[in-house]
Symmetry: C2
Subunit: 241 residues, 2 copies
């Protein structure tokens, strides 16, 4: 007998496998039928239905009457192997357009100053941008730049350019490395409204501190990324510490 608990576990496994195939671009816009999916995953149709329900709740697929189950939108991979801006990572998938909500100099509050190795109250450049691909929001980026590199950016095309590329070009420098910390959180009402998702939807929250090659921190960012539109990818090597 297949108990409810067992079925729920199988449904989770099928949902995991299907999500991975969808993100890998291995299924088209229209999913195979329940029978075919059941064969593929070695699962009953009840399990498949429950798995599709989980993926619907994630916003990854939707059922359309008389058609079947559709992938709502492609999910893009953003590499965690190399430091790239979002527009660089999504090159070829369409144009990333930024709605610039703030671009100004401010006195760094102690929390930001410490992160950038400055004294509290020193001038920094604050940028707040909602990034869109094909019109729909991808992420909400709150950025603090050190003044000596950031001020030159205030007159630049912040709506269409990646910050990393702009920082390098405008100032004639190269960036070095960034430390990234990835959280998964439920979007609060404000973040949800800006990202056009339901409050409580799971999103990535990234802290990213970018440094020059000499180690000096120059760019402290806090990003909220729609997890139904982006996945984070990495290749990890086994080996000595």
């Amino acid at each position: 007998m297949v108990t409810t608990q067992r079925r729920a576990e199988r449904a989770r496994q099928v949902a995991d496998g299907l999500r991975q195939r969808i993100v890998a671009g291995e299924v088209g816009d229209l999913l195979p039928g329940e029978r075919a999916l059941g064969e593929w995953f070695g699962a009953s149709r009840n399990v498949v239905r429950e798995a599709l329900g989980l993926l619907r709740d994630e916003g990854l697929v939707e059922r359309r009457q008389g058609v079947g189950t559709l992938v709502v939108r492609p999910k893009y991979g953003h590499g965690l192997d190399r430091l790239t801006g979002l527009a660089e990572a999504l090159e070829g998938h369409g144009e990333v357009v930024n709605e610039v909500r703030a671009a100004e100099t401010v006195a760094a509050p102690p929390s930001v100053a410490e992160r950038l190795g400055l004294a509290a109250g020193e001038e920094v450049v604050h940028l707040e941008r909602v990034r869109r691909l094909g019109g729909a929001p991808l992420s909400l980026d709150s950025t603090y730049l050190v003044a000596d590199l950031g001020i030159a950016l205030l007159g630049k095309d912040l709506a269409h350019r990646d910050l990393f590329a702009l920082l390098e070009e405008t100032n004639g420098i190269r960036l070095g490395r960034a430390e990234v910390e990835v959280h998964a959180v439920s979007a609060g009402p404000d973040t949800a409204a800006l990202l056009d998702i339901a409050p409580g939807t799971a999103v990535f929250a990234l802290d990213r501190l970018t440094r020059l090659p000499d180690g000096r921190p120059v760019d402290a960012e806090w990003l909220h990324i729609r997890a139904d539109r982006l996945t984070l990818r990495a290749t990890l090597q086994r080996g000595a510490a």
Copy 2:
């Protein structure tokens, strides 16, 4: 005038900054008071209160009457720079104990067979484990291993050992690299029950495919990780593609 919208945005920023400091271990178990936090972030007390509410909703902090705001539990970093097992990553933080829910050979369904480069129906080893640190669940791991490396593990101490180390020791091999894809999803009812969190809580869903140095895939895993207990870390280098 500070509008509600502006306050919500500031609250998000303060929550982001405070989360990062908590995870970095830079605040103790008891958070500073609202006034001190307000000065730290250059924000009003109303903003600080709203930010603390967001972090309470994430399960990161809790308010205790007459005491203040407490960090519920430390959040651990799991590096995305190098391929390590969870127990290896958490060394020094306590013992990771695995509740082994399944350890058996099964006929690979097509979905798993394809991922491991096998024919559908070939024998694979399936492991399902709930991993705990200090008694509380950290993650739910569903693993499929190729039979020639996996079967030898069925008699081993799966409750207390990392799979990567066991695979290497038992079979006298070294693992090579893994491709990891990170999603943020809302936990379904089954996953939530196994991880002891409320349904709908944001969790990480990881697909990880681990290969031998020659590229052969040997270990296909789907992990659900409690995002209130673990954060994912990486250092990214800028540079040529």
